[in-house]
């Protein structure tokens, strides 16, 4: 009989999946930045990658806080 995942396990999997998406998005932005030979576009791409990471980090911290509560 298939086991049904508990709701917190399901939520954790969603949070982890979101984390993976963010990581790939940041890597993509940084790869694009490396391919751009001129500023300020390169700096802008690196800054948006940093912001994407940091905003998501706050969201993920909050989501995991709720899961742990």
């Amino acid at each position: 009989m298939p086991t049904i995942p508990r709701i917190d396990e399901l939520l954790e999997a969603i949070v982890n999946g979101y984390e993976d998406v963010i990581r790939r998005s940041c890597e993509l932005q940084r790869t694009l930045a490396r391919g751009v030979p001129f500023d300020p576009v390169r700096s802008l791409l690196n800054t948006t990658a940093d912001l994407t990471r940091d905003i998501a980090a706050v969201q993920l911290s909050g989501a995991r806080w709720l899961l742990d509560s």
Partner: protein, 258 residues
């Protein structure tokens, strides 16, 4: 323009040292001479602190971990042992999770995993750290002594404490960087992911730590598979000053974890 100041001492397998709140890499001055007898030791100033410069400060331990990985890149190091202390220990956890392939082993000193299960310090300690950003560097260093050091050290090793403060004041930090690091520490939350840390781990903690209560070390050691816990019963938060012999044990841990 962001630039991170880093220094390398000794030869052998590399240990990356990640320091605590508002401290520069120079704060490792007691530990580096011991570890560098058998290892290459890399210290660095976190973003906005000491000789590192930053246009934007790091407000998350994730960002600080990425900075640490950048230091490894700059030093030409693929994999390193990592020793994180206090806030640096939180960054070390993130480094082990975000860049697992770069981490051989970890020592987590006087730190916590974050999240709602983290055991908070007393209201007196929290109030002090909020107030500290408004004090001059010298006043803050003096005022933090009862919080950073255990009673035995304050009684028997005043000279060591004075030397710590003298060294710390060589690299004062801007208030903005301090506040950013406070935010990073407050947001830190690795509790649910500790089970994902695969690197051999040693958790070291002072039994009299008022800044990060001892129960946090137990949470870390229980959560990280195979982690060992070493409690220094009479030591406070800054145990490297109080129990300098621990550095030999930490060097042995790194050498055995190759």
């Amino acid at each position: 323009m962001t630039s991170l100041h880093w220094e390398s001492t000794g030869t052998g397998d590399t240990v990356l040292m990640i320091t605590g709140l508002g401290l520069s890499g120079g704060a490792w001055w007691r530990t580096v001479p011991v570890l560098s007898q058998s290892l290459r030791v890399i210290t660095f100033d976190n973003r906005g602190v000491g000789r590192s410069r930053a246009r934007l400060h790091s407000y998350t331990t994730e960002a600080m971990a990425d900075d640490a990985a950048t230091v490894l890149d700059a030093a030409g190091v693929e994999r390193a042992h990592v020793y994180g202390f206090s806030l640096g220990g939180m960054v070390a956890q993130q480094l082990a999770l975000r860049h697992a392939e770069r981490v051989r082993s970890i020592v987590l000193g006087a730190t916590h995993a974050g999240g709602p299960r983290a055991v908070r310090p007393s209201d007196e300690v929290i109030a002090f750290f909020r107030r500290r950003a408004r004090l001059s560097a010298k006043d803050a260093a003096q005022a933090s002594v009862p919080f950073n050091y255990g009673p035995r050290c304050r009684r028997e090793h005043r000279g060591r404490i004075a030397e710590d403060i003298r060294r710390r004041l060589e690299h004062p930090f801007p208030e903005q960087a301090y506040r950013a690091q406070m935010v990073a520490a407050a947001l830190h939350n690795c509790h649910r992911r500790l089970k994902r840390i695969e690197a051999p781990t040693l958790v070291v903690h002072g039994g009299e730590d008022r800044v990060v209560p001892l129960a946090n070390a137990e949470i870390l050691a229980e959560g990280i598979p195979g982690a060992r816990l070493r409690i220094l019963e009479a030591a406070g938060h800054l145990y490297p000053t109080e129990e300098p012999d621990i550095d030999d044990e930490i060097a042995r841990f790194f050498l055995e974890a190759r």
